[in-house]
Symmetry: C2
Subunit: 155 residues, 2 copies
């Protein structure tokens, strides 16, 4: 089963620093757009939001920067579902240059299912939970979660 590809983009001019390298925050923006795609896959896309009034909020994220990325590079994001419970989803995104599988960055993220009417946390709908389980079943053991979140230390 192929991995879940959640975003493709060229690196844009607004995203790079004075050296022409992708600024740290814009790696996370690319992962944020990848999460939007994941939301669509589980029935929380912009259209259905209008009906369901639910979304995912990021509670916490960890990011590892592994390689520089230059203006104009074409990149893509692979997403793995580490796990989920009634209200939360632990996702793992990796960023790759077009045509290669080497990771340029990796991010583990805890996402909370939210009823926008509060906003307050809410259990996933049956439809969303089934869609998440289908993604977990499909991904099998196709991806190693290599760059886990961890305490940072100078020691």
């Amino acid at each position: 089963m192929p991995a879940l590809i959640t975003y493709r983009t060229p690196i844009q001019k607004d995203w790079v620093d004075y050296n022409g390298h992708l600024r740290d925050a814009y790696y996370l923006l690319i992962f944020s757009y990848a999460t939007d795609t994941l939301m669509e896959r589980i029935g929380l896309d912009a259209d259905s939001r209008g009906q369901s009034g639910h979304s995912l909020f990021t509670l916490e994220a960890h990011i590892n920067y592994l390689h520089e990325v230059r203006l104009g590079s074409d990149v893509w994001v692979k997403t793995h579902i580490v796990g989920f419970d009634k209200k939360r989803l632990l996702a793992y995104h990796t960023l790759h240059r077009e045509g290669t599988d080497q990771a340029l960055a990796a991010s583990e993220q805890m996402l909370l299912h939210v009823d926008l009417a509060g906003p307050k946390s809410a259990p996933f709908s049956t439809h969303s939970a089934q869609a998440l389980q289908a993604l977990v079943d499909a991904q099998g053991d196709s991806m190693v979660v290599e760059w886990r979140s961890r305490p940072l230390s100078l020691a």
Copy 2:
């Protein structure tokens, strides 16, 4: 001794989602600009970069999202030096709404001092190391590092 204030900005239109809330990646962009200020404070600003050819690269970051932030809010960033060694700096940023001290988000970040000619890691100059030590001495125990990086888990 007052804490180190590294950035002030209104929340901009490009930074918010369809709900008018600051998107997760843009919290990190604000912290990225705060790191730019920190670089200036230790002699690695845009002007001196042209001379020194050195900069800080983010190796790894952890971010905790604590409160939503709306379009038009005025926010500021406080920065604490958790520690540093010959080549690395562990920094802790918190985001706050103007007029309050409550944290809206917090991020611990491992930054690497880099010789851009490589680019390759390089020891801090004596000037930068002294400037970092002066910041550490000045901050005293003025800030609690409450939201440390950690492993994410559904358990």
